[in-house]
């Protein structure tokens, strides 16, 4: 009891300290700006731009924001020629530093969940507090790093072999540099042009290529995909687990609601053998990771075709991917793009033991992932969807009869800017699951959300998700019927 009280106290102190730091940060920014331009994220401050120049509404990117991101967080064709040094000379060290920093507080504040077994309502602290350092260093090189604090972060306890929650702090989802390699190609003989400090390969009026851009470090490459999982209006919900009193064991009680198209999709897999950490069916994996060590190359050809290649470390193996996106250029307030993905994972998951399904076995499996996604933006409407198919290879013969090697997912999201301050969203997620046949269950979820932006960089949301499949108490994918969340998404 005392130990629990002490833990609560420690968490409260940390939360209060963090918010005090955030308040101090805002004060410094307010003080540093001549105009009342305080509560804006790093890039908006650096480029003196409003959030909506790059976002339909944060965090969703509009067409200009996609180009800005693709070119390494630089205004297309208009990089600052002297980069960081120019900023230091012109703005001074203090403003340059402040303009490079940003904070995001995001997550649910209130949660209500309902199932035939129980009804639960609880107040929460925001799930994540993210601290960003982001800035172009030269016209060809940018840095982006994210530190993350989670007041109630859920992690698999490697030593004890069960899920646990606690406050966590460390490297966030992404930390990488992005480098325009066009000049390198020029050095080996390719024809190049300087476009506002950014080297472009090719000739005006003929073949042109922006990039290739190298993004290396801890990366999330799917921002360039037609359906970007880190740019959705509907946040992923949190994993819920139950720990039996007095026992060193916890059970996953409810899986997160994520866009199922990009989830792992298989029941009964493990991430590794030694730590026996399960690969949950809703984990975002492969190309659709929420951040993994790796290197990504992308380039845009003739302003309409984006190509992407890369590799990512994953569990005990790694995966490689190739992606192509075709863009229809904007006219009549409409833009459209379509992407295809081919993704191969080498030994990225571990099959269960053929005898003891709750233990990892000796076989590492390869995973093939492929699929198609599309995005249409027309007036106030933003529609994006994806169908992704996964298939496992290398399954032990003894498991063949018990294990379904193929799975698929469909996710479609519709965002509608009903008013300049109100974004309405709906998402349909369908999972055709694979994995152990005695566990596998398909899932279907419909989520709706209203997000209110009193200002461009602050949003409050109300979101409800409905399980459209029959309730199953003993399966964490369907152990609920309805979940309602009230939350905040605040960038400054």
């Amino acid at each position: 009891m005392f130990a629990r009280g002490s833990l609560m106290l420690r968490r409260s102190i940390v939360v209060v300290a963090l918010f005090a730091t955030a308040a101090g940060f805002v004060t410094v920014v307010l003080y540093a700006q001549v105009q009342p331009a305080a509560a804006v994220p790093a890039f908006a401050r650096q480029y003196d731009l409003q959030c909506n120049a790059c976002h339909t509404r944060p965090p969703r990117l509009n067409r200009f924001g996609e180009q800005f991101h693709m070119m390494g967080f630089q205004i297309p064709s208009a990089s600052r020629p002297d980069g960081l040094l120019g900023s230091l000379k012109e703005d001074g060290p203090a403003k340059t530093l402040i303009d490079s920093l940003a904070l995001r507080v995001v997550g649910g504040l209130f949660e209500y969940s309902e199932s035939p077994r129980e009804t639960e309502a609880k107040l929460e602290s925001p799930h994540e507090v993210e601290f960003f350092i982001a800035r172009p260093i030269t016209p060809s090189l940018s840095l982006y790093a994210e530190l993350e604090y989670q007041p109630n972060g859920i992690a698999f306890s490697r030593d004890r072999g069960f899920f646990n929650s606690g406050h966590t702090f460390g490297l966030g989802k992404e930390a990488f540099f992005m480098w325009n390699m066009g000049a390198l190609l020029g050095a080996v003989g390719a024809p190049t042009m300087e476009m506002g400090g950014q080297t472009m390969v090719g000739r005006h009026g003929g073949f042109t290529m922006h990039g290739p851009m190298l993004m290396a470090g801890k990366v999330d490459p799917n921002t360039n995909f037609s359906y970007s999982t880190n740019r959705q209006m509907l946040l992923d919900t949190e994993l819920e687990f139950e720990r039996e009193p007095g026992k060193d064991r916890s059970e996953v009680h409810r899986l997160p609601i994520v866009p199922y198209a990009f989830a792992s999709k298989f029941f009964g897999l493990f991430k590794n053998r030694g730590e026996r950490e399960p690969q949950l069916v809703t984990d975002l994996v492969m190309y659709d990771t929420t951040g993994a060590p790796g290197a990504d190359f992308h380039a845009m050809f003739n302003d309409v075709l984006l190509a992407q290649l890369g590799f990512l470390s994953e569990n005990e193996g790694f995966n490689t991917y190739g992606m192509l996106r075709y863009d229809l250029l904007d006219r009549r307030e409409l833009t459209f793009n379509v992407s295809v993905l081919l993704n191969w994972g080498f030994g990225v998951v571990r099959a269960p033991d053929p005898e003891e399904h709750h233990h990892p076995g000796g076989a590492r499996l390869d995973r093939l992932r492929y699929g198609i996604a599309a995005n249409l933006k027309w007036k106030a409407l933003d529609v994006y969807g994806a169908v992704i198919i996964d298939r496992l290879y290398g399954l032990p013969g003894a498991l063949r009869g018990d294990f379904d090697r193929a799975a698929a997912g469909l996710s479609v999201e519709v965002d509608y800017l009903a008013h300049e301050k109100v974004m309405l969203s709906g998402r349909f997620d369908q999972l055709w699951a694979g994995g152990l046949k005695d566990e596998e269950l398909d899932g279907t979820v419909l989520s709706v959300q209203a997000k209110f932006y009193p200002w461009q960089n602050i949003a409050f949301f109300v979101r409800d998700s409905v399980n459209l499949r029959p309730f199953k108490e003993d399966n964490a994918l369907r152990s609920w019927r309805n979940q309602l969340f009230v939350g905040i998404d605040w960038d400054f």
Binding site: P36, N52, M193, D303
Partner: protein, 311 residues
């Protein structure tokens, strides 16, 4: 796992350092210099702002009377260097450090815009970057009227073998750089055809933020010309350089006055002019207007204590 991540990061850093070290683009390949060498050093840079609005009337290029008049002038004043056949091999031109232009080079002529051509005829080789390259061409603005300069250009144009008027729709290659920049940086808001109908506009803040400009109409907000008229090239250049700030209203707490259109001040001046030439090509009225009147803004009245005290 951690050591592998560390190794990956260190390896990436080492690769980056190596790449930065060797990634120095050869000067001969940067900024189209190689392309200029193909043309004997005649870089087709954008006309400076004072000549940017000096477009040649459409009918001049194919008007027989103008071409005849131009031939008379060309024969007496230009052929000595540019040659009777317009091949740049006139008797006085062969020894010059910068060879006179070859008007028979159809591709080279096609890349020249009319205002650039008019600038070259008017100022000759006494302006950069041609003076540094040793151009000996005299300026003709003091000796030839505007109409005479148009006439000589119309005659020079006939050497290229092109029959139609010398306008962007006939020579899209003259706008290639501007079009490339536009496609990358402007299309999202202003749309492919410049109608202000990109997909970004409707979500900017429909009720408060200024909407992307429709370049195909005469409705421009930021200009020094009277209401209802098109802006000058200098007006467009100023807007592109400064961006557009938005009051934003209640929607933009903490963001009041920040730009809704980015500033492109870091884009080289030449490239800003290139993209503006492309924007002007989306509206034929920019080439058809003959007179540009500038609204003069009177000097602000002196600040006196009486004026300050006025409610």
């Amino acid at each position: 796992m951690r050591s592998r991540t560390l190794a990956l990061l260190v390896g990436s850093g080492a690769f980056l350092a190596l790449a930065l070290w060797i990634a120095r683009p050869p000067a001969s390949l940067a900024n189209g210099d190689k392309h200029d060498d193909d043309k004997g050093g005649h870089a087709h840079v954008p006309a400076p702002l004072e000549y940017a609005d000096a477009h040649v009337p459409l009918g001049v290029w194919t008007d027989p009377a103008m071409i005849t008049r131009g031939k008379e002038i060309y024969t007496t004043r230009c052929a000595v260097c540019h040659g009777d056949a317009g091949d740049g091999k006139g008797p006085a031109g062969v020894a010059l450090p910068l060879m006179p232009s070859d008007f028979r080079d159809k591709a080279g002529v096609g890349e020249m815009r009319d205002n650039y051509w008019f600038w070259r005829v008017s100022e000759g080789g006494q302006v950069e970057p041609f003076r540094s390259k040793g151009s000996a061409m005299p300026p003709w603005k003091g000796e030839l009227s505007v109409q005479d300069r148009w006439a000589v250009m119309a005659y020079q144009h006939t050497f290229s073998g092109h029959d139609g008027p010398h306008v962007p729709r006939e020579h899209p290659e003259s706008l290639a750089m501007g079009r490339d920049i536009y496609a990358m940086a402007c299309v999202g808001c202003h749309g492919v055809e410049g109608r202000g109908d990109g997909s970004v506009g409707p979500t900017l803040s429909p009720r408060r933020a200024p909407q992307p400009r429709d370049f195909t109409t005469a409705e421009f907000k930021f200009r020094s010309t009277p209401s209802g008229q098109l802006p000058t090239t200098a007006d467009l250049f100023r807007t592109l350089t400064e961006g557009v700030r938005s009051g934003g209203g209640a929607m933009t707490f903490g963001l009041y006055g920040h730009r809704i259109m980015p500033s492109f001040r870091h884009m080289p001046e030449e490239q800003r002019l290139e993209v503006i030439e492309y924007v002007k090509s989306l509206n034929p009225a920019f080439r058809e207007r003959r007179e540009i009147s500038i609204v003069s803004i009177p000097a602000p009245p002196p600040v006196t204590s009486e004026r300050v005290a006025q409610p």
